[in-house]
Structure formats: C-alpha cells, structure tokens
C-alpha cells in the first residue's frame, strides 16, 4: 500500500528550481534514507510531504490526500505525517511532558488526563520518563531530540519524517537518538530520513535515495548502493561522508 506518492512534483523558489518533476512512491513500512549534497533538495522534498513548503508543479498524495487540497486537508495530512527537525524546536515554555501532551490535547482533542497518559507512555518509550517535568533548556541535545520524537509520535502519525535529526548533536549523543529511531523502524513505522549516518542507512534503511539538483539520481537497496555505488558522483559523495 503506497502512503506517499510524488507525481511529477516540482518546487520552485522564485526562479530557482529545487525539485524537478520528481516521481516517487513510498509504501507503508518502508524506511527510506535520503542523502545528497547540500542544496540538492532533501529538506525541501521532506517539507513538501507535510506542506511546510507548497509544491509548484505536479501533485503529491499523502495517505490518499493531495497536499493541494486546502488548509483543512493539509492539517489532516500533517496529523498523519509527523516531523522531527534538526534543531529539535521544542516549545521552550512547556515541560517535556507538556510538549508531548500538546498535540493530543490541542490537535486530537483528548482530555487533559488522557493526553498526559499518552505523553507519559511515549516519554517512557524514548527513555525519558524521569525527565517529564524538565524544561527543554534543562535537557541535553539528545534528550531534547528524543522528546521531539515523542511529541511527533503523540499525534499518532502513519509516517515519520526526519530532517537530519542527529546533525546538531555531539557524536556520543547521536546514538541515543538513532536507537530510538531503530526501535521505531522495528515496530514497522514508515519513515523518511534525511541523514548522513551511513551505518544507520545500511542497518535500518529498506531503501536509499541519492538526490542531485532536485532529482532522484539513485534509488536502491542501501547495502548494495553503498557497497557498490552505481555512479561516480555517489561514490564521490560517500567518500566525503565517511
């Protein structure tokens, strides 16, 4: 069952073409790892899926709904496609627990008690139950990112979008976030991940996409593609990342 379908999708910023007639179908349960040089359009591709960027050509279907279907439909899509940002973007005036309970309460309309219960379960799942009453400023980067993952999961999405979730973290903190993502993948969550963690891509990814100039240049099995790159530029890129 396909859950995301790019259909000749284009995205321009003024005269700059950032996505160039992309065709891409992602099925439920896939873990798609997105790589490519800086400026190749990875973030933009991800942000088009939940409508943080408006596509300028073609169509894009998420869970059966077009991103061009208006504000209300876009909000439905966003509830099905959770996003985790490079800079965490936790709400600084709310505790970890309140951050996670926010979506269930204000978006899904749960009661305060129900939302809290959901939030506690999720914080437990990302290993931060004991930090529930801490504010983001009192947490390490890795802990903040795990709270951010819990916040996205709290709305019960069908797909999770990750935009370089570990790039802002020190090496020793990356693993705790990657471990949460591994577990999520093992539970069968559909994921689209922009990352330069090649070990993660090989181990967890079911599919690897290499982007160049707003186009999909390579699309294949992560192990095969990484071990024997089918084109010179990917080979070059992989050497840079190592």
């Amino acid at each position: 069952m396909s859950i995301i379908q790019f259909r000749q999708t284009s995205k321009h910023f003024g005269a700059l073409k950032v996505l160039d007639r992309v065709d891409l179908t992602i099925d439920e349960g896939e873990v798609v790892v997105l790589i490519g040089p800086s400026g190749s359009g990875k973030s933009t591709l991800l942000r088009c899926i939940n409508g943080l960027e408006t596509i300028t050509g073609g169509d894009l279907i998420v869970d059966g709904l077009s991103v061009k279907g208006g504000a209300r439909q876009l909000r439905e899509i966003r509830q099905e496609a959770g996003m985790v940002f490079q800079q965490f973007n936790l709400f600084p005036q709310l505790t970890a627990l309140e951050n996670v309970a926010f979506g269930p309460r204000k978006v899904r309309g749960l009661s305060r008690a129900e939302a809290q219960e959901t939030a506690i379960d999720l914080l437990d799942k990302v290993g931060l139950a004991e930090k529930a009453n801490h504010y983001p400023a009192e947490l390490s980067g890795g802990q903040q990112q795990r709270v951010a993952i819990a916040r996205a999961l709290a709305v019960k999405p069908k797909v999770m979008l990750f935009d370089e979730p570990t790039s802002a973290l020190d090496p020793e903190l990356k693993q705790e976030v990657l471990n949460v993502m591994r577990r999520l993948a093992a539970e069968g969550m559909t994921m689209v991940v922009v990352t330069h963690e090649m070990a993660f891509a090989k181990q967890v990814g079911t599919r690897l996409i290499f982007m160049e100039h707003g186009k999909i240049a390579v699309d294949g099995n992560p192990r095969e593609v990484i071990d024997t790159p089918p084109n010179a530029r990917l080979k070059d890129f992989l050497q840079h990342v190592e």
Partner: protein
C-alpha cells in the same frame, strides 16, 4: 528668594484630583491602545497585503505627527469635518488610544516576529491551524518579550497626557498651571507636580519589574 512649602499641603487635594484624572486618561487610553496596537501589529505581521497596508498607513500617520496635533485634530477639527462633538476628556482618552496604539503595534509586531520560525513550523507540523500556533505557542513567548518595551510606552503615554493642557483637560499639569496662576508659587507647585509624576512613573516601573522577574524570557 523665600519658599513656603505649606502651599503644597494646602493645594494637595487639588493636585491629587489632577493626578487622578491623569491616571484615568492613561489607564483607559492604554487599555484601548493595547487592543488597537495588538490588532494593528498582528495585521502588520501576518495580514495579507491589504490589511498590512491599512495598518502601515495608520502607524506612519500617527508616528509622523505630534500628539498635540492629534488631540487638537480630534477636539477641534473632527467636529467641523464630521459633525462629531466630543468633550475634552474623551478627546484626551482617544488621543492616547490612537497614539499609543501605533507605537504598541510596532512593539507587538517586533515581538511576534522575533520568535523563531522553527517553533511555528513545529506547531504546524503536528496539525495545528495557524491561529492556534499564534495563540498557544508564539503568543505566550512573544508576550514575555513585549513587557520591557511596553513598559517604556506606558511611561511615555502617562507623561504625554500633560500635553492635553492644550484642550483644557484638568489633569495634573493643567491643575499645577491653574494653582500657579493664582499664587505664583512656581518652585513649590512645580516641584510638587514633578514629584507626583515621579511617584506615578516609579510605581509603574516597579509593577513592570515584578512582572518581568516572574516571567523568564525564553
């Protein structure tokens, strides 16, 4: 030159009545100014081109003209133009509303736009409509940054009420002037007037400091 400070005590009731009028104009004017300024500021920050242009024109018109001219216009020109008569007191309150509103609009716009785009996107990404993002996430954060510049504006507006002497509103400065005209005790009366203003602005500063200390800037 000899001074006789007992006149201050004699005229204290009159001076305090003037101060009361000053406070009345300031409070009413700032309540209205906050409302108007918030609306105009949000129109500037998030409105489409039409709303933005309306708010922009209003702000520039007010910031580009002196408050004395504004209150003269409200009190003397409006009746001629639109056949609306208003008493000096209403003209004074309205002048503060309109004047403070323009400055507060810029303060509100600045505070809202200073909140990083990432937080709005995080709110939108969990499926919140834009107005809820502003109400629950950006608003509370912006509010904290609003307090210091807002306090400034409150003090400016309080002192601006002294300019309404030109339309004969019996606020503190006008009261001082009237007492002066009858006894020529310039040193005593103007000292007393200045001290009463200082007490009012000082109390305002104290209240704002307390609020600021209670709320961390995030």
């Amino acid at each position: 030159m000899e001074t006789d400070w007992s006149v201050v005590i004699d005229y204290m009731p009159a001076l305090l009545a003037g101060a009361k009028t000053t406070i009345y104009i300031t409070v009413l004017g700032l309540v209205g100014g906050l409302l108007l300024g918030t609306i105009a500021g949000l129109m500037r920050a998030y409105g489409g081109s039409v709303l933005n242009a309306i708010a922009f024109a209003y702000i520039e018109l007010i910031r580009g003209t002196p408050i004395v001219v504004q209150v003269m216009f409200l009190y003397f020109a409006l009746p001629v133009l639109a056949d609306i008569r208003i008493d000096p007191m209403s003209a004074a309150v309205l002048a503060i509303v309109v004047n403070a509103g323009a400055y507060i609009a810029e303060i509100v716009r600045g505070a809202f736009l200073s909140i990083g785009k990432g937080l709005s996107e995080a709110g939108l990404a969990i499926g919140l409509p834009h107005w809820k993002v502003l109400l629950y996430i950006v608003g509370p954060l912006a509010f904290r940054r609003l307090i210091p510049p807002l306090g400034n504006q409150f003090i400016v507006s309080l002192k601006d009420t002294s300019l309404f002497i030109v339309i004969g509103v019996g606020e503190l400065t006008r009261t001082g002037q009237e007492i002066m005209a009858s006894n020529f005790r310039a040193v005593e009366i103007w000292s007393a007037v200045a001290v009463i203003y200082l007490i009012m602005t000082g109390s305002l500063t104290l209240v704002l400091r307390t609020i600021e200390r209670r709320m961390k800037i995030l």
